[in-house]
Amino acid sequence: MSKSLEQSFVKQLQENQNIIHKICRLYTNDDDAHKDLFQEITIQLWKAFPKFRGDSKFSTWAYRVALNTAITLYRKTKRSINTVEFEGRQHFLNDVEYDYEEEEQLKLMYKAVYQLNDIEKALIFMYLEDKDYHEISETLGISEVNARVKMNRIKGKLKKILNPLGI
């Protein structure tokens, strides 16, 4: 592939790398795996780059390839964090009515998101990135109505993880 294509790709990826980092953060749980997935996504993006015609933003195009790589092509199995310490959860339950530290709440929320499966993570990712349901449904290849239904279920699941007793 030509040098100028390579230059253009490297420049655009460098500028838009945070979107890839966000996906890596969601799908891996240590630095090495993060770097490994980042590299695989970069390779896949580069392979697909000749087909990128620039009629959408680079970041919009890149996140789809990145998600597909994380969900489907990336081979290394990651150990998911399934151990939310009971004490931590209890603590949260007791203090939730009071003014709880945002920081702590966020930590729990991130932990809860980690417990979702790959597809649910993809939906949450797109939700956090403010993608509309039309785009979510097109990216995953599901219907728009069902994308909405699934998103509501995921919210329910997150609630349950955060508050398993339903208090």
Binding site: L13, V65, N117, L140, K150, K155
Partner: protein, 210 residues
């Protein structure tokens, strides 16, 4: 859900929390090799097709037919061989066609379907070969039974005791079954490891649209 709103706010301002990769690093990365499952499927598929093609190329029945002095059967076996070559070519073409369709820019579901389709082509090819082996074995056995003088002993035995026929067919049947069983196990292990994640995610994705 207020926790989710909180997460969204934090998520959208988290851009500066990542260690930035330099342009130079990206240059290095794009020249590295992919370790994706598609690549592994390609490698394994090529090996499989090569192995089975070589096996069918080297299995030569002509010498045997000459040995038992029935050269008139050679054209029939040759015809079977040509059919086999045609089938190999069709499979390779199908595999290539499916393989180039795999693209990371389509939807996740389509990508998964395309990968599975490519995989299936090779699997059919292997099953085809296994089927051919069974057919060849049956033909070889029949030819040997009818034309090979060494088989006279067996024929006499069958004539005197009908159980011998049942035992012979039974042994052949069990051998083929064992053969298929071993391959099935091999496939379960190799593709179980390689495609486990894909299958789980594909099922999950299909469940959403049910």
């Amino acid at each position: 859900m207020k926790e989710l709103d909180l997460l969204k706010k934090d998520w959208q301002k988290s851009d500066n929390t990542f260690v930035q990769v330099s342009e130079n690093d990206i240059y290095i990365m794009i020249h590295k090799r992919s370790s994706s499952i598609v690549k592994w499927i390609l490698i394994i598929s090529i090996l499989e097709v090569l192995l089975w093609t070589l096996l069918s190329l080297f299995s030569n029945s002509d010498d045997y037919l000459r040995e038992i002095k029935h050269v008139e059967l050679i054209p029939y076996f040759d015809a079977l061989t040509y059919v086999n070559y045609a089938v190999i070519l069709i499979f390779i073409y199908q595999f290539y066609k499916n393989y180039i369709l795999i693209s990371t820019t389509t939807s996740t579901k389509k990508l998964m379907q395309d990968i599975l389709k490519t995989r299936c082509t090779v699997q059919y090819y292997v099953w085809y070969n296994l089927g051919m082996i069974v057919i060849y074995t049956i033909i070889a056995f029949t030819v040997a039974f009818i034309y090979n003088p060494q088989m006279e002993v067996l024929k006499e035995k069958i004539a005197s005791n009908s159980n011998v026929m049942i035992i012979t067919v039974g042994v052949l049947f069990l051998t083929s079954l064992l053969f298929f069983g071993l391959f099935w196990l091999f496939y379960r292990v190799v593709y179980g490891i390689l495609l486990r994640k894909l299958f789980i995610n594909y099922k999950e994705l299909k469940k959403i649209d049910l």
